[in-house]
């Protein structure tokens, strides 16, 4: 399956991917409104850029083959879609126990503080090209089948 792969050699740590993810998952689809208004009501990017010295890397859900988050999820909100291979999330079932947060080895799951539920990459359901990949100015993210 196609996944989003980061390339730490050319990630420049600009965090633009985070803003793209945020915008793509906002109601308004407008960066300025998403940051100023929707963030206040809990909207967060599914992506986070980590930095150590000169090295930066942008991480989000890996859509693992055998996802530990799915095993850890107590409510069945996280599940593996057999057809697409994606690790999916049904927000209505999430009870905010944060088990998955601790289980994910990539730290790829985040909280929506106001909803008390998780936020996780859905590979930009409905978009041809994931927002983060499209927005990255240095081709440090690729969407491909490896």
């Amino acid at each position: 399956m196609r996944r989003v792969y980061p390339n730490k050699d050319f990630c420049i740590g600009c965090h633009i991917c985070e803003l793209a993810c945020l915008t793509a998952h906002s109601e308004s689809k407008d960066l300025i409104i998403a940051v100023r208004e929707e963030q206040a009501s809990g909207l967060r990017p599914c992506k986070a850029v980590y930095e150590k010295g000169p090295v930066c890397v942008s991480l989000s859900c890996r859509h693992c083959e055998n996802p530990t988050c799915v095993t850890a999820c107590i409510s069945g909100a996280l599940y593996k879609d057999e057809e697409t291979g994606k690790t999916k999330y049904d927000e209505s079932k999430c009870v905010g126990c944060w088990s998955c947060l601790m289980a994910c080895p990539f730290g790829a799951i985040r909280r929506n503080p106001s909803k008390g539920k998780i936020i996780k990459c859905d590979l930009c359901e409905g978009r041809d090209m994931p927002a983060c990949v499209q927005a990255c100015p240095n081709a440090a993210l690729s969407y491909e089948d490896r």
């Binding site: 050699d9 420049i12 740590g13 600009c14 803003l19 300025i32 100023r36 000169p54 927005a135």
Partner: protein, 507 residues
């Protein structure tokens, strides 16, 4: 501003942030390597310090809300035709530092650009124009010494060339990426130039910094340079490329050497240049073994011996007053290619006074060198290449009509990968990741993207050159070379026209 010397507050640029749209995302803070933007803890928002801005426009290009505009500082000194702000600011700076003024990139001074005073011809009615989309249009160019005459013999398989032709560089486009050393620009861009040159069937020049071991595989598309510092020169290096270039002079700083500051010399640069990490790499002004044409001849033949006469040897000089006589000597000393570098040619660092006041326009030097070599009957002994300030395909084609075999491009190549000509290359902090070896900054150039952009640029210019050739009713670049009848001058005086060897428009 508080805590700053007065002179620094005469800043060149102002940062205009539209607070209506700024989302305080700090993208600009992370992008600006001069720390002009910063997070203001007291106000809990992004703020800026105009005095630090060099006008590179990196922040403006990456701001995701498009709310930044970098503007020229509108603060005006009293009008004075003699004392323009540029000269006053130079003096303030020197009053502060006591040092020589440094600049990056080619001269921005308002001196004549003869390309702009030359117009190309086009066919009408007679000698119809050619459509390059329907008919073959040859851009292939061979650089190297051509024999005085060729002998052909008849064989049962047809005619065969009897004369032995010396080594040539084969170019699919009459353009090459000019010398920019590994060190002055970083590895990612060297790799990108090597990849693009290979894809395009042209060559790039290593500059005086040696060749990184991983780039030897692109040797067939590489010119290796030997300059006065002899950095990174050894037998394998000389034999790695498609040609060797002896750099005697550089257009941006004729008469002086080079200085790569220690900060730019990291582990990789140090290995390739063969100098210690962090030490300044100083190229002397002259080659200490060249004090005459005879000495140059010895070096040319030493290099030919070292490479067993397999590759052409090029000699690059800055376009200066006596360029024609010097070029004639160079050709007679055995050079297969002569390169003339004009004062608009870029550089990582040059003393400002030299950059802006030494040398002559490359257009004039080119026309005169071509004339001189023709008059002496030795024009075919060497190819002629011009470098320094070709901005578009029209400049390239005009150079060829004036007598050049090919053109070196460098500044335009850097602009293609993001350079905004801020002219601060000597700081080593290029926000576009070009003239820097800082790990955080150099990765801003992704070689895959850069190679693609360089390839696109040369292909685009190639298409345009084909269109212009076709318009003139020519079907190969060979037919234009030195064909000054295809040029007419506009707004030029008698002397200029005479030097350029072109008629005025209307004649």
């Amino acid at each position: 501003m508080l805590f700053k010397p007065i002179s620094q507050n005469f800043n060149d640029f102002v940062i205009d942030r539209d607070k209506e749209r700024c989302i305080n995302c700090e993208v600009c803070v992370r992008q600006c390597s001069y720390e002009a933007h910063f997070w203001d803890d007291a106000r809990q928002c992004v703020m800026h310090d105009n005095t630090k801005c060099v006008g590179c426009h990196r922040c403006e290009a990456l701001c995701p809300t498009g709310c930044l505009t970098i503007k020229k500082n509108p603060a005006d000194f009293r009008d004075n035709a003699l004392w323009t702000p540029t000269y006053m600011k130079h003096i303030y700076k020197q009053g502060d530092t006591g040092g020589i003024l440094l600049s990056g990139m080619g001269s921005p001074s308002a001196k004549p650009i003869y390309w702009d005073n030359l117009q190309l011809d086009a066919s009408q009615v007679t000698n119809p124009s050619i459509d390059p989309l329907r008919e073959p249009m040859e851009l292939r160019t061979y650089l190297g010494s051509k024999p005085d005459k060729v002998e052909v013999e008849e064989t049962p398989e047809g005619p065969r060339l009897k004369t032995k032709i010396g080594p040539q560089i084969k170019l699919e486009y009459p353009m090459m990426f000019s010398a920019m050393s590994f060190g002055s620009i970083n590895f990612n861009l060297h790799k990108a130039m090597a990849m693009a040159a290979t894809e395009l069937g042209i060559v790039y020049n290593t500059g005086e910094g040696g060749l990184h071991p991983t780039l030897y595989k692109y040797g067939a598309n590489t010119i290796v340079q030997v300059a006065s510092g002899r950095f990174g020169v050894h037998k394998d290096y000389l034999n790695a490329g498609a040609a060797i270039e002896i750099k005697v002079g550089q257009g941006a700083k004729p008469g002086i050497g080079g200085h790569l500051p220690g900060e730019k010399i990291d582990e990789e640069v140090s290995k390739t240049r063969m100098v210690p990490v962090g030490s300044d790499a100083i190229s002397p002004a002259p080659h200490h073994d060249i004090y005459s044409i005879e000495d140059l001849l010895q070096l040319i033949y030493a290099l030919k011996e070292a490479t067993e006469y397999r590759v052409p040897v090029s000699v690059k000089i800055a376009a200066v007053h006596n360029a024609p006589a010097i070029a004639s000597g160079i050709v007679r000393a055995g050079a297969d290619i002569v390169v003339l570098d004009g004062f608009r040619g870029g550089t990582g660092a040059a003393p400002t006074m030299i950059r802006d006041n030494v040398g002559i326009p490359v257009e004039l030097a080119l026309a005169q060198v071509d004339n001189r070599l023709r008059d002496e009957g030795i024009r075919n002994w060497a190819s002629l290449v011009v470098a320094g300030g070709t901005r578009c395909s029209a400049d390239v084609i005009k150079a060829i009509a004036l007598g050049a075999d090919a053109v070196y491009i460098a500044t335009s190549a850097l602009v293609a990968v993001g350079c905004t000509l801020c002219g601060r290359c000597y700081t080593g902090k290029c926000p576009w990741g070009i003239a820097t070896n800082e790990a955080r900054l150099k990765k801003r150039q992704n070689p895959e993207i850069a190679a693609k952009r360089l390839t696109n640029l040369v292909k685009a210019w190639g298409h345009e050159i084909q269109e212009m050739l076709g318009g003139m009713g020519l079907n190969s670049i060979e037919s234009l070379r030195g064909n000054r009848d295809k040029l007419r001058g506009i707004g030029l005086n008698e002397v200029e026209l005479d030097i350029l060897g072109v008629k005025h428009a209307g004649r």
